[in-house]
Amino acid sequence: MNGMAMHRRTAITTATALAAALAGCGVGGGETPEDVSLLVTDDLGARVILDRPDAEVSGEDTVVRLLQRNTDVDAASGGTFVRGVAGVEAEQDATGRTLDWVYFRNGMLASRGAAETRVEDGDHVWWDRQEYARARMGAVVGAFPAPFRVGDEVAIDLACATPDGDACAAAVRRLGQAGVPATPRALDAPITAPAGAPRMLVGTWRRIRESGAVGPLEQGPRRSGVFARLDPDGRTLTVLDRAGEATSTLRGGWGLVAAVRPTPKLAVWVVTGPDEANVRRAAAALRPDRLKGRFAVRVDGGDAVPIPEAPR
Protein backbone atom coordinates (compact mmCIF):
# COMPACT_ATOMS: atom_id res chain seq x y z
CA MET A 1 0.00 0.00 0.00
CA ASN A 2 2.85 2.30 0.87
CA GLY A 3 4.34 1.66 -2.56
CA MET A 4 1.04 2.46 -4.29
CA ALA A 5 0.62 5.66 -2.32
CA MET A 6 4.13 6.70 -3.22
CA HIS A 7 3.54 5.97 -6.89
CA ARG A 8 0.32 7.97 -6.81
CA ARG A 9 2.07 10.90 -5.13
CA THR A 10 4.86 10.81 -7.68
CA ALA A 11 2.36 10.72 -10.53
CA ILE A 12 0.42 13.68 -9.15
CA THR A 13 3.59 15.69 -8.59
CA THR A 14 4.85 14.92 -12.07
CA ALA A 15 1.52 15.80 -13.65
CA THR A 16 1.37 19.08 -11.73
CA ALA A 17 4.88 20.04 -12.71
CA LEU A 18 4.17 19.14 -16.31
CA ALA A 19 0.98 21.16 -16.33
CA ALA A 20 2.78 24.15 -14.83
CA ALA A 21 5.53 23.85 -17.41
CA LEU A 22 3.13 23.44 -20.30
CA ALA A 23 1.05 26.42 -19.16
CA GLY A 24 3.66 28.74 -20.65
CA CYS A 25 4.11 26.68 -23.77
CA GLY A 26 2.78 27.14 -27.25
CA VAL A 27 3.31 26.19 -30.83
CA GLY A 28 4.61 28.82 -33.20
CA GLY A 29 5.70 32.33 -32.40
CA GLY A 30 2.66 33.43 -30.40
CA GLU A 31 0.86 36.75 -30.40
CA THR A 32 2.76 39.70 -31.83
CA PRO A 33 2.98 42.78 -29.56
CA GLU A 34 2.09 46.19 -30.95
CA ASP A 35 3.73 49.62 -30.87
CA VAL A 36 7.21 48.37 -30.14
CA SER A 37 10.02 50.84 -30.72
CA LEU A 38 13.73 50.17 -30.97
CA LEU A 39 16.58 52.61 -30.53
CA VAL A 40 20.27 51.81 -30.82
CA THR A 41 22.88 54.39 -29.83
CA ASP A 42 26.56 54.51 -29.11
CA ASP A 43 28.49 55.98 -26.19
CA LEU A 44 25.72 57.20 -23.95
CA GLY A 45 23.56 58.47 -26.78
CA ALA A 46 26.32 60.41 -28.55
CA ARG A 47 25.52 58.73 -31.87
CA VAL A 48 22.29 57.21 -33.12
CA ILE A 49 22.88 53.94 -34.97
CA LEU A 50 19.30 52.79 -35.47
CA ASP A 51 15.96 54.39 -34.75
CA ARG A 52 12.84 52.31 -35.43
CA PRO A 53 9.72 53.88 -33.89
CA ASP A 54 7.76 50.97 -35.39
CA ALA A 55 10.19 48.09 -35.07
CA GLU A 56 9.71 44.77 -36.86
CA VAL A 57 8.54 42.19 -34.35
CA SER A 58 6.94 38.80 -34.75
CA GLY A 59 5.31 36.62 -32.15
CA GLU A 60 6.51 36.61 -28.58
CA ASP A 61 9.96 37.83 -29.51
CA THR A 62 12.66 38.18 -26.93
CA VAL A 63 14.61 41.42 -26.78
CA VAL A 64 17.57 39.88 -28.58
CA ARG A 65 15.35 38.46 -31.30
CA LEU A 66 13.74 41.87 -31.73
CA LEU A 67 17.21 43.26 -32.30
CA GLN A 68 18.09 40.49 -34.75
CA ARG A 69 14.98 41.14 -36.79
CA ASN A 70 15.84 44.78 -37.23
CA THR A 71 19.60 44.83 -37.69
CA ASP A 72 22.74 42.70 -37.83
CA VAL A 73 23.69 41.33 -34.48
CA ASP A 74 26.82 39.55 -33.36
CA ALA A 75 25.72 37.36 -30.48
CA ALA A 76 27.69 34.85 -28.44
CA SER A 77 26.86 32.09 -26.01
CA GLY A 78 24.13 30.61 -28.16
CA GLY A 79 22.63 34.00 -28.90
CA THR A 80 22.26 35.14 -25.31
CA PHE A 81 25.07 37.70 -25.16
CA VAL A 82 25.21 40.62 -27.60
CA ARG A 83 28.71 41.47 -28.72
CA GLY A 84 27.98 43.70 -31.64
CA VAL A 85 25.09 45.61 -33.21
CA ALA A 86 25.09 46.85 -36.81
CA GLY A 87 28.82 46.27 -37.02
CA VAL A 88 29.60 48.18 -33.82
CA GLU A 89 31.33 45.75 -31.51
CA ALA A 90 31.87 45.72 -27.78
CA GLU A 91 35.54 46.59 -27.35
CA GLN A 92 38.21 48.39 -25.44
CA ASP A 93 38.79 51.72 -27.15
CA ALA A 94 42.05 53.61 -27.62
CA THR A 95 41.70 55.39 -24.29
CA GLY A 96 41.35 52.11 -22.43
CA ARG A 97 37.62 52.32 -21.84
CA THR A 98 35.75 49.02 -22.02
CA LEU A 99 32.57 49.52 -24.00
CA ASP A 100 29.77 46.98 -23.68
CA TRP A 101 26.27 46.72 -25.00
CA VAL A 102 23.48 47.19 -22.48
CA TYR A 103 19.78 47.68 -22.98
CA PHE A 104 17.03 49.68 -21.36
CA ARG A 105 13.43 48.67 -21.44
CA ASN A 106 10.91 51.45 -20.97
CA GLY A 107 13.52 53.73 -19.49
CA MET A 108 14.94 51.23 -16.98
CA LEU A 109 18.23 49.40 -17.25
CA ALA A 110 17.44 45.73 -17.84
CA SER A 111 18.01 43.40 -14.94
CA ARG A 112 17.49 40.23 -16.98
CA GLY A 113 19.25 39.00 -20.06
CA ALA A 114 17.99 40.00 -23.49
CA ALA A 115 17.29 36.37 -24.35
CA GLU A 116 15.18 35.98 -21.22
CA THR A 117 12.93 39.00 -21.65
CA ARG A 118 9.95 38.96 -23.99
CA VAL A 119 8.82 42.12 -25.71
CA GLU A 120 5.32 43.34 -24.80
CA ASP A 121 2.84 45.86 -26.16
CA GLY A 122 4.17 49.41 -26.21
CA ASP A 123 7.71 48.49 -25.17
CA HIS A 124 10.52 50.93 -25.84
CA VAL A 125 13.76 49.01 -26.20
CA TRP A 126 16.97 51.02 -26.21
CA TRP A 127 20.41 49.49 -26.77
CA ASP A 128 23.45 51.58 -25.99
CA ARG A 129 27.13 50.80 -26.11
CA GLN A 130 28.76 52.40 -23.09
CA GLU A 131 31.38 52.15 -20.44
CA TYR A 132 29.18 50.27 -18.04
CA ALA A 133 31.53 50.55 -15.09
CA ARG A 134 31.63 54.34 -15.23
CA ALA A 135 28.11 54.96 -13.91
CA ARG A 136 25.61 53.09 -11.81
CA MET A 137 22.91 53.72 -14.36
CA GLY A 138 19.45 52.54 -13.48
CA ALA A 139 16.95 54.76 -15.25
CA VAL A 140 17.00 57.17 -18.18
CA VAL A 141 14.67 59.86 -19.49
CA GLY A 142 15.03 59.10 -23.18
CA ALA A 143 12.08 56.70 -23.38
CA PHE A 144 9.50 59.27 -22.25
CA PRO A 145 6.54 58.85 -21.77
CA ALA A 146 7.83 55.50 -20.53
CA PRO A 147 8.01 54.38 -17.78
CA PHE A 148 4.83 56.30 -16.95
CA ARG A 149 2.99 55.05 -20.00
CA VAL A 150 3.78 51.71 -21.62
CA GLY A 151 1.25 50.73 -24.26
CA ASP A 152 -2.13 51.29 -22.67
CA GLU A 153 -0.86 50.99 -19.13
CA VAL A 154 -0.43 54.22 -17.22
CA ALA A 155 0.98 54.58 -13.73
CA ILE A 156 2.56 57.62 -12.10
CA ASP A 157 3.11 59.02 -8.66
CA LEU A 158 3.50 62.78 -9.22
CA ALA A 159 4.75 64.71 -6.21
CA CYS A 160 5.30 68.46 -6.35
CA ALA A 161 7.03 70.75 -3.86
CA THR A 162 4.31 73.30 -4.70
CA PRO A 163 1.29 71.39 -6.02
CA ASP A 164 -0.54 74.53 -7.03
CA GLY A 165 2.48 76.27 -8.53
CA ASP A 166 3.27 76.96 -12.20
CA ALA A 167 5.99 74.34 -12.39
CA CYS A 168 3.68 71.57 -11.21
CA ALA A 169 0.97 72.76 -13.60
CA ALA A 170 3.45 72.67 -16.48
CA ALA A 171 4.41 69.12 -15.57
CA VAL A 172 0.79 68.00 -15.39
CA ARG A 173 0.13 69.60 -18.78
CA ARG A 174 3.11 67.97 -20.47
CA LEU A 175 2.30 64.61 -18.95
CA GLY A 176 -1.28 64.90 -20.15
CA GLN A 177 -0.11 65.70 -23.66
CA ALA A 178 1.99 62.56 -23.55
CA GLY A 179 -1.00 60.45 -22.55
CA VAL A 180 -0.18 60.32 -18.83
CA PRO A 181 -3.00 61.90 -16.80
CA ALA A 182 -1.63 62.76 -13.38
CA THR A 183 -2.97 64.24 -10.16
CA PRO A 184 -0.14 65.81 -8.15
CA ARG A 185 0.31 65.40 -4.42
CA ALA A 186 2.48 67.28 -2.00
CA LEU A 187 5.93 65.90 -1.30
CA ASP A 188 5.03 64.88 2.21
CA ALA A 189 1.51 63.66 1.43
CA PRO A 190 0.78 59.92 1.49
CA ILE A 191 1.27 58.06 -1.78
CA THR A 192 -2.01 57.21 -3.43
CA ALA A 193 -0.61 55.77 -6.66
CA PRO A 194 -0.39 51.97 -7.02
CA ALA A 195 2.58 50.34 -5.33
CA GLY A 196 5.66 50.44 -7.53
CA ALA A 197 4.32 53.22 -9.78
CA PRO A 198 7.20 55.28 -11.18
CA ARG A 199 7.59 58.56 -9.39
CA MET A 200 8.17 62.10 -10.60
CA LEU A 201 9.35 64.80 -8.19
CA VAL A 202 8.85 68.38 -9.32
CA GLY A 203 10.36 71.22 -7.33
CA THR A 204 13.50 73.09 -6.42
CA TRP A 205 16.39 70.91 -5.46
CA ARG A 206 16.47 72.21 -1.90
CA ARG A 207 12.88 71.02 -1.47
CA ILE A 208 12.93 67.69 -3.23
CA ARG A 209 16.38 66.50 -2.07
CA GLU A 210 14.75 65.88 1.30
CA SER A 211 12.67 63.13 -0.30
CA GLY A 212 15.69 60.87 0.28
CA ALA A 213 15.41 58.60 -2.70
CA VAL A 214 17.18 61.10 -4.95
CA GLY A 215 20.08 61.91 -2.63
CA PRO A 216 22.64 60.13 -4.85
CA LEU A 217 22.26 62.95 -7.39
CA GLU A 218 24.64 64.90 -5.16
CA GLN A 219 27.27 62.17 -5.40
CA GLY A 220 27.94 61.79 -9.07
CA PRO A 221 27.39 59.09 -11.68
CA ARG A 222 28.92 56.21 -9.75
CA ARG A 223 26.10 56.55 -7.24
CA SER A 224 23.27 58.05 -9.24
CA GLY A 225 23.97 57.02 -12.83
CA VAL A 226 23.51 60.66 -13.90
CA PHE A 227 26.49 62.54 -15.32
CA ALA A 228 25.76 65.62 -13.25
CA ARG A 229 26.15 66.58 -9.64
CA LEU A 230 23.86 68.77 -7.59
CA ASP A 231 25.05 70.72 -4.60
CA PRO A 232 23.07 70.54 -1.37
CA ASP A 233 22.60 74.31 -1.52
CA GLY A 234 20.32 73.68 -4.48
CA ARG A 235 21.85 76.44 -6.55
CA THR A 236 24.78 74.73 -8.25
CA LEU A 237 24.74 72.11 -10.97
CA THR A 238 27.99 70.55 -12.16
CA VAL A 239 27.69 68.89 -15.54
CA LEU A 240 30.08 66.06 -16.43
CA ASP A 241 31.35 64.48 -19.64
CA ARG A 242 31.43 60.74 -20.44
CA ALA A 243 34.65 60.32 -18.53
CA GLY A 244 33.10 61.86 -15.44
CA GLU A 245 35.09 65.09 -15.74
CA ALA A 246 33.36 68.41 -15.09
CA THR A 247 32.58 70.40 -18.20
CA SER A 248 30.55 73.22 -16.72
CA THR A 249 29.44 74.47 -13.34
CA LEU A 250 26.20 76.43 -13.34
CA ARG A 251 25.12 78.61 -10.48
CA GLY A 252 21.54 79.53 -11.15
CA GLY A 253 19.83 79.60 -14.53
CA TRP A 254 19.57 75.88 -15.05
CA GLY A 255 16.97 73.14 -15.03
CA LEU A 256 17.47 69.40 -14.81
CA VAL A 257 15.40 66.43 -15.93
CA ALA A 258 17.00 63.18 -14.79
CA ALA A 259 16.06 59.75 -13.48
CA VAL A 260 17.45 57.44 -10.83
CA ARG A 261 16.51 53.97 -9.67
CA PRO A 262 16.75 53.74 -5.90
CA THR A 263 15.28 50.21 -5.84
CA PRO A 264 15.38 47.54 -8.58
CA LYS A 265 11.79 48.14 -9.64
CA LEU A 266 11.29 51.84 -8.90
CA ALA A 267 12.23 54.70 -11.22
CA VAL A 268 12.25 58.20 -9.77
CA TRP A 269 12.41 61.23 -12.04
CA VAL A 270 13.47 64.67 -10.89
CA VAL A 271 12.34 67.83 -12.61
CA THR A 272 14.25 70.46 -10.74
CA GLY A 273 16.18 73.73 -10.73
CA PRO A 274 17.43 76.39 -8.33
CA ASP A 275 14.10 78.24 -8.31
CA GLU A 276 10.49 77.88 -9.42
CA ALA A 277 11.04 79.62 -12.77
CA ASN A 278 13.78 77.21 -13.76
CA VAL A 279 11.77 74.26 -12.50
CA ARG A 280 8.92 75.41 -14.76
CA ARG A 281 11.29 75.54 -17.72
CA ALA A 282 12.51 72.05 -16.89
CA ALA A 283 8.90 70.80 -16.73
CA ALA A 284 8.24 72.35 -20.14
CA ALA A 285 10.95 70.05 -21.54
CA LEU A 286 8.86 66.99 -20.72
CA ARG A 287 8.23 66.18 -24.38
CA PRO A 288 9.04 62.96 -26.20
CA ASP A 289 10.85 64.81 -28.98
CA ARG A 290 12.99 66.76 -26.50
CA LEU A 291 13.94 63.78 -24.36
CA LYS A 292 14.24 61.05 -27.00
CA GLY A 293 17.57 59.26 -26.82
CA ARG A 294 18.77 61.30 -23.83
CA PHE A 295 20.10 59.88 -20.61
CA ALA A 296 19.36 63.15 -18.81
CA VAL A 297 18.99 66.77 -19.93
CA ARG A 298 19.80 70.15 -18.51
CA VAL A 299 17.48 72.88 -19.55
CA ASP A 300 19.11 76.09 -20.64
CA GLY A 301 16.51 78.67 -21.48
CA GLY A 302 14.30 76.85 -23.92
CA ASP A 303 16.88 74.25 -24.94
CA ALA A 304 17.21 70.70 -23.62
CA VAL A 305 20.94 69.97 -23.66
CA PRO A 306 21.85 66.28 -23.38
CA ILE A 307 23.84 65.01 -20.44
CA PRO A 308 26.59 63.80 -20.43
CA GLU A 309 28.11 66.67 -22.35
CA ALA A 310 30.95 66.59 -24.81
CA PRO A 311 34.35 67.08 -23.17
CA ARG A 312 35.88 70.56 -23.20
Binding site: A21, L22, A23, G24, C25, G26, V27, G28, G29, G30, S58, G59, E60, T62, V64, R65, Q68, R69, V73, A75, G78, G79, T80, R112, G113, A115, E116, T117, R118
Partner: protein
Amino acid sequence: MTTTTASTSRATDRLLDGVARLGHRPGGDPLRTARPALAALWCLAVAVVALAAGHPLVLATVGACVLVAGARAGATALHRRVLLLAVPLALLVVVINALVVREGLTVLLRLGTVPGLGALDVTLEAVVVGAILALRLVVLLLVGALFVVAVDPDGLLRALRPRWPHAALTAALALRIVPVLARDGLRMSEARRTRPPGAPGSMEDRGARLVVLRSVLGSTFDRSADLATTLELRGHGLGVRTVRARVRRSRHDRRIAGAALALVATAAAFVAGVADVGLTPRLDVPVDATVIGACGLIAAVMIAPLLSRRGVGVASSTVRATPPVGGAA
Protein backbone atom coordinates in the same frame (compact mmCIF):
# COMPACT_ATOMS: atom_id res chain seq x y z
CA MET B 1 16.77 -11.88 -13.79
CA THR B 2 14.19 -9.25 -14.80
CA THR B 3 13.33 -8.56 -18.43
CA THR B 4 14.91 -5.11 -18.26
CA THR B 5 18.15 -6.46 -16.83
CA ALA B 6 18.29 -9.20 -19.43
CA SER B 7 17.72 -6.84 -22.36
CA THR B 8 20.27 -4.33 -21.06
CA SER B 9 22.75 -7.12 -20.58
CA ARG B 10 22.18 -8.33 -24.13
CA ALA B 11 22.70 -4.79 -25.42
CA THR B 12 25.97 -4.57 -23.51
CA ASP B 13 27.13 -7.88 -24.94
CA ARG B 14 26.18 -6.75 -28.44
CA LEU B 15 28.23 -3.61 -27.93
CA LEU B 16 31.23 -5.59 -26.74
CA ASP B 17 30.78 -8.08 -29.56
CA GLY B 18 30.73 -5.28 -32.09
CA VAL B 19 33.89 -3.79 -30.65
CA ALA B 20 35.55 -7.21 -30.60
CA ARG B 21 34.99 -7.53 -34.35
CA LEU B 22 36.73 -4.24 -35.01
CA GLY B 23 39.96 -4.38 -36.89
CA HIS B 24 41.67 -4.27 -40.19
CA ARG B 25 41.08 -7.15 -42.61
CA PRO B 26 43.36 -7.39 -45.61
CA GLY B 27 41.57 -7.07 -48.92
CA GLY B 28 42.05 -6.41 -52.61
CA ASP B 29 40.20 -3.14 -53.02
CA PRO B 30 42.19 0.03 -53.86
CA LEU B 31 41.93 1.53 -50.38
CA ARG B 32 43.28 -1.55 -48.64
CA THR B 33 45.76 -2.18 -51.42
CA ALA B 34 47.31 1.26 -51.25
CA ARG B 35 49.99 2.07 -48.75
CA PRO B 36 48.55 2.28 -45.24
CA ALA B 37 49.92 5.77 -44.71
CA LEU B 38 48.17 6.98 -47.86
CA ALA B 39 44.94 5.20 -46.96
CA ALA B 40 45.11 6.85 -43.56
CA LEU B 41 45.77 10.20 -45.21
CA TRP B 42 42.73 9.68 -47.44
CA CYS B 43 40.53 8.96 -44.43
CA LEU B 44 41.93 11.99 -42.63
CA ALA B 45 41.27 14.18 -45.66
CA VAL B 46 37.66 13.01 -45.75
CA ALA B 47 37.33 13.86 -42.06
CA VAL B 48 38.78 17.31 -42.72
CA VAL B 49 36.20 17.89 -45.46
CA ALA B 50 33.45 16.83 -43.07
CA LEU B 51 34.74 19.30 -40.48
CA ALA B 52 35.14 22.14 -42.96
CA ALA B 53 31.88 21.79 -44.84
CA GLY B 54 28.76 23.38 -43.42
CA HIS B 55 26.25 22.65 -46.19
CA PRO B 56 24.00 19.67 -45.40
CA LEU B 57 24.01 18.51 -49.02
CA VAL B 58 27.81 18.43 -49.04
CA LEU B 59 27.92 16.53 -45.75
CA ALA B 60 25.35 14.06 -47.00
CA THR B 61 27.43 13.55 -50.15
CA VAL B 62 30.55 12.90 -48.08
CA GLY B 63 28.62 10.45 -45.91
CA ALA B 64 27.22 8.60 -48.91
CA CYS B 65 30.67 8.36 -50.47
CA VAL B 66 32.10 7.02 -47.22
CA LEU B 67 29.42 4.33 -47.24
CA VAL B 68 30.29 3.44 -50.83
CA ALA B 69 33.99 3.32 -49.93
CA GLY B 70 33.10 1.19 -46.95
CA ALA B 71 31.19 -1.22 -49.13
CA ARG B 72 34.27 -1.60 -51.34
CA ALA B 73 36.50 -2.05 -48.30
CA GLY B 74 34.32 -4.61 -46.56
CA ALA B 75 33.15 -2.20 -43.84
CA THR B 76 29.42 -2.42 -44.53
CA ALA B 77 28.59 -4.46 -41.43
CA LEU B 78 30.61 -2.11 -39.25
CA HIS B 79 29.00 0.92 -40.85
CA ARG B 80 25.61 -0.58 -40.11
CA ARG B 81 26.53 -0.97 -36.43
CA VAL B 82 27.92 2.54 -36.32
CA LEU B 83 24.74 3.97 -37.79
CA LEU B 84 22.64 2.13 -35.19
CA LEU B 85 24.70 3.74 -32.47
CA ALA B 86 25.00 7.11 -34.18
CA VAL B 87 21.33 7.79 -34.91
CA PRO B 88 20.19 8.15 -31.28
CA LEU B 89 23.32 10.16 -30.56
CA ALA B 90 22.54 12.43 -33.48
CA LEU B 91 18.98 12.93 -32.25
CA LEU B 92 20.34 13.88 -28.86
CA VAL B 93 22.60 16.48 -30.46
CA VAL B 94 19.65 17.98 -32.32
CA VAL B 95 17.48 18.16 -29.21
CA ILE B 96 20.19 19.66 -27.02
CA ASN B 97 21.10 22.23 -29.65
CA ALA B 98 17.48 23.19 -30.12
CA LEU B 99 17.10 23.83 -26.40
CA VAL B 100 20.42 25.55 -25.78
CA VAL B 101 20.83 27.79 -28.83
CA ARG B 102 18.67 30.92 -28.57
CA GLU B 103 19.42 32.19 -32.03
CA GLY B 104 17.03 32.09 -34.93
CA LEU B 105 13.95 34.03 -35.86
CA THR B 106 11.48 31.27 -36.80
CA VAL B 107 9.98 30.06 -33.55
CA LEU B 108 8.55 26.54 -33.71
CA LEU B 109 7.78 25.95 -30.07
CA ARG B 110 7.59 28.15 -27.01
CA LEU B 111 8.43 26.12 -23.95
CA GLY B 112 7.66 28.84 -21.45
CA THR B 113 10.04 30.62 -19.13
CA VAL B 114 12.34 28.51 -17.02
CA PRO B 115 13.84 30.14 -13.92
CA GLY B 116 17.53 30.64 -14.50
CA LEU B 117 17.29 29.92 -18.21
CA GLY B 118 14.70 32.47 -19.22
CA ALA B 119 12.53 32.15 -22.31
CA LEU B 120 12.95 28.69 -23.81
CA ASP B 121 12.03 28.90 -27.48
CA VAL B 122 12.81 26.26 -30.06
CA THR B 123 13.61 27.89 -33.38
CA LEU B 124 13.86 26.28 -36.78
CA GLU B 125 17.35 27.71 -37.18
CA ALA B 126 18.57 26.07 -33.97
CA VAL B 127 17.10 22.74 -35.07
CA VAL B 128 18.82 22.98 -38.44
CA VAL B 129 22.15 23.89 -36.82
CA GLY B 130 21.79 20.86 -34.58
CA ALA B 131 20.91 18.66 -37.53
CA ILE B 132 24.01 19.77 -39.40
CA LEU B 133 26.17 19.11 -36.34
CA ALA B 134 24.56 15.70 -35.98
CA LEU B 135 25.12 14.88 -39.63
CA ARG B 136 28.76 15.89 -39.29
CA LEU B 137 29.11 13.64 -36.24
CA VAL B 138 27.62 10.68 -38.08
CA VAL B 139 29.93 11.23 -41.05
CA LEU B 140 32.97 11.41 -38.77
CA LEU B 141 31.96 8.18 -37.04
CA LEU B 142 31.58 6.47 -40.42
CA VAL B 143 35.02 7.74 -41.50
CA GLY B 144 36.47 6.43 -38.26
CA ALA B 145 34.97 3.02 -38.84
CA LEU B 146 36.31 2.96 -42.40
CA PHE B 147 39.74 3.91 -41.10
CA VAL B 148 39.72 0.99 -38.68
CA VAL B 149 38.81 -1.49 -41.41
CA ALA B 150 40.78 -0.11 -44.33
CA VAL B 151 44.08 0.92 -42.75
CA ASP B 152 46.56 -1.75 -41.79
CA PRO B 153 47.82 -0.70 -38.35
CA ASP B 154 51.07 -2.60 -38.76
CA GLY B 155 51.74 -0.93 -42.07
CA LEU B 156 50.97 2.44 -40.51
CA LEU B 157 53.34 1.65 -37.69
CA ARG B 158 56.11 0.84 -40.15
CA ALA B 159 55.49 4.14 -41.95
CA LEU B 160 55.47 6.27 -38.80
CA ARG B 161 58.09 4.54 -36.73
CA PRO B 162 61.16 6.21 -38.28
CA ARG B 163 59.91 9.61 -37.19
CA TRP B 164 57.73 9.01 -34.11
CA PRO B 165 58.65 5.58 -32.78
CA HIS B 166 56.89 5.68 -29.41
CA ALA B 167 53.72 7.37 -30.65
CA ALA B 168 53.49 5.00 -33.62
CA LEU B 169 53.81 1.96 -31.38
CA THR B 170 51.24 3.28 -28.91
CA ALA B 171 48.74 4.11 -31.65
CA ALA B 172 49.14 0.73 -33.36
CA LEU B 173 48.73 -1.06 -30.03
CA ALA B 174 45.62 1.00 -29.26
CA LEU B 175 44.05 -0.15 -32.49
CA ARG B 176 44.94 -3.76 -31.75
CA ILE B 177 44.07 -3.76 -28.11
CA VAL B 178 40.44 -2.58 -28.32
CA PRO B 179 39.10 -5.81 -29.85
CA VAL B 180 41.21 -7.82 -27.40
CA LEU B 181 39.76 -5.93 -24.45
CA ALA B 182 36.26 -6.30 -25.87
CA ARG B 183 36.70 -10.06 -26.12
CA ASP B 184 37.88 -10.03 -22.50
CA GLY B 185 34.74 -8.11 -21.64
CA LEU B 186 32.58 -10.73 -23.35
CA ARG B 187 34.31 -13.47 -21.40
CA MET B 188 33.74 -11.54 -18.17
CA SER B 189 30.10 -11.18 -19.13
CA GLU B 190 29.85 -14.94 -19.66
CA ALA B 191 31.45 -15.52 -16.27
CA ARG B 192 28.92 -13.23 -14.60
CA ARG B 193 26.10 -15.40 -15.95
CA THR B 194 27.42 -18.33 -13.89
CA ARG B 195 26.98 -16.43 -10.64
CA PRO B 196 23.76 -17.04 -8.70
CA PRO B 197 21.07 -14.34 -8.97
CA GLY B 198 21.45 -11.63 -6.36
CA ALA B 199 25.10 -12.34 -5.69
CA PRO B 200 27.64 -9.52 -6.20
CA GLY B 201 28.80 -9.45 -9.79
CA SER B 202 25.77 -11.36 -11.07
CA MET B 203 23.74 -10.23 -14.09
CA GLU B 204 21.44 -8.13 -11.86
CA ASP B 205 24.40 -6.17 -10.56
CA ARG B 206 24.26 -3.04 -12.71
CA GLY B 207 27.33 -1.61 -11.05
CA ALA B 208 29.35 -4.61 -12.13
CA ARG B 209 28.13 -4.19 -15.71
CA LEU B 210 29.33 -0.60 -15.76
CA VAL B 211 32.67 -1.61 -14.30
CA VAL B 212 33.16 -4.15 -17.08
CA LEU B 213 32.31 -1.62 -19.78
CA ARG B 214 34.48 1.07 -18.27
CA SER B 215 37.44 -1.20 -17.82
CA VAL B 216 37.16 -2.43 -21.40
CA LEU B 217 36.63 0.83 -23.19
CA GLY B 218 37.97 3.48 -20.89
CA SER B 219 41.55 2.56 -20.45
CA THR B 220 42.59 1.77 -24.00
CA PHE B 221 45.26 4.42 -24.30
CA ASP B 222 46.62 3.85 -20.83
CA ARG B 223 47.07 0.16 -21.48
CA SER B 224 48.51 0.83 -24.93
CA ALA B 225 51.02 3.26 -23.51
CA ASP B 226 51.99 0.80 -20.77
CA LEU B 227 52.37 -1.98 -23.29
CA ALA B 228 54.43 0.20 -25.60
CA THR B 229 56.75 1.14 -22.75
CA THR B 230 57.10 -2.51 -21.75
CA LEU B 231 57.94 -3.56 -25.29
CA GLU B 232 60.52 -0.82 -25.64
CA LEU B 233 62.11 -1.79 -22.34
CA ARG B 234 62.45 -5.30 -23.72
CA GLY B 235 64.34 -3.95 -26.67
CA HIS B 236 61.62 -3.49 -29.25
CA GLY B 237 62.65 -0.60 -31.50
CA LEU B 238 65.34 0.65 -29.12
CA GLY B 239 68.11 1.93 -31.35
CA VAL B 240 68.05 -1.21 -33.47
CA ARG B 241 68.16 -0.35 -37.09
CA THR B 242 65.60 -2.45 -38.82
CA VAL B 243 65.95 -3.48 -42.40
CA ARG B 244 63.63 -1.21 -44.29
CA ALA B 245 61.81 -3.46 -46.66
CA ARG B 246 61.08 -1.85 -49.99
CA VAL B 247 57.37 -1.67 -50.57
CA ARG B 248 56.34 -1.62 -54.19
CA ARG B 249 54.41 1.43 -55.24
CA SER B 250 51.12 0.86 -57.02
CA ARG B 251 48.85 2.96 -59.20
CA HIS B 252 46.41 3.07 -56.31
CA ASP B 253 48.95 4.90 -54.19
CA ARG B 254 49.06 7.77 -56.63
CA ARG B 255 45.31 7.90 -57.05
CA ILE B 256 44.58 7.69 -53.33
CA ALA B 257 47.23 10.32 -52.57
CA GLY B 258 45.91 12.58 -55.32
CA ALA B 259 42.36 12.20 -54.03
CA ALA B 260 43.51 13.06 -50.50
CA LEU B 261 45.20 16.23 -51.70
CA ALA B 262 42.18 17.20 -53.76
CA LEU B 263 39.95 16.67 -50.74
CA VAL B 264 42.17 18.88 -48.57
CA ALA B 265 42.01 21.58 -51.22
CA THR B 266 38.24 21.25 -51.28
CA ALA B 267 38.15 21.60 -47.51
CA ALA B 268 40.22 24.77 -47.80
CA ALA B 269 37.69 26.12 -50.28
CA PHE B 270 34.89 25.44 -47.84
CA VAL B 271 36.77 27.23 -45.09
CA ALA B 272 37.21 30.18 -47.46
CA GLY B 273 33.45 30.39 -47.89
CA VAL B 274 32.57 28.26 -50.89
CA ALA B 275 29.13 26.64 -50.55
CA ASP B 276 28.66 28.61 -47.35
CA VAL B 277 25.37 28.56 -45.52
CA GLY B 278 23.68 31.11 -43.32
CA LEU B 279 22.07 29.53 -40.32
CA THR B 280 21.29 32.27 -37.82
CA PRO B 281 19.45 34.45 -37.34
CA ARG B 282 17.86 33.50 -40.68
CA LEU B 283 18.29 30.31 -42.66
CA ASP B 284 20.05 30.60 -45.96
CA VAL B 285 20.88 27.19 -47.38
CA PRO B 286 21.31 27.70 -51.10
CA VAL B 287 21.17 24.80 -53.53
CA ASP B 288 22.85 26.34 -56.52
CA ALA B 289 25.40 25.41 -59.13
CA THR B 290 28.29 25.95 -56.71
CA VAL B 291 26.88 23.55 -54.14
CA ILE B 292 25.94 20.92 -56.68
CA GLY B 293 29.30 21.31 -58.34
CA ALA B 294 31.05 20.87 -54.98
CA CYS B 295 29.04 17.73 -54.28
CA GLY B 296 29.85 16.33 -57.70
CA LEU B 297 33.54 17.11 -57.27
CA ILE B 298 33.70 15.45 -53.86
CA ALA B 299 31.90 12.36 -55.13
CA ALA B 300 34.20 12.10 -58.13
CA VAL B 301 37.37 12.65 -56.11
CA MET B 302 36.36 10.19 -53.41
CA ILE B 303 34.87 7.41 -55.48
CA ALA B 304 36.85 7.39 -58.73
CA PRO B 305 40.10 6.01 -57.24
CA LEU B 306 38.14 3.25 -55.49
CA LEU B 307 36.40 2.00 -58.59
CA SER B 308 39.53 0.79 -60.34
CA ARG B 309 39.85 -2.98 -60.46
CA ARG B 310 43.27 -3.04 -62.10
CA GLY B 311 46.17 -4.13 -59.95
CA VAL B 312 43.97 -5.19 -57.06
CA GLY B 313 44.37 -8.52 -55.32
CA VAL B 314 47.93 -7.98 -54.11
CA ALA B 315 48.29 -5.97 -50.93
CA SER B 316 51.15 -3.53 -51.33
CA SER B 317 52.10 -3.98 -47.69
CA THR B 318 53.27 -7.53 -48.54
CA VAL B 319 57.02 -7.47 -48.31
CA ARG B 320 59.38 -9.85 -50.07
CA ALA B 321 62.55 -10.23 -48.08
CA THR B 322 64.28 -12.02 -50.94
CA PRO B 323 63.65 -11.81 -54.66
CA PRO B 324 61.71 -14.73 -56.07
CA VAL B 325 63.61 -17.44 -57.89
CA GLY B 326 63.51 -16.92 -61.63
CA GLY B 327 61.86 -13.55 -61.20
CA ALA B 328 58.32 -15.00 -61.18
CA ALA B 329 55.76 -12.85 -59.33
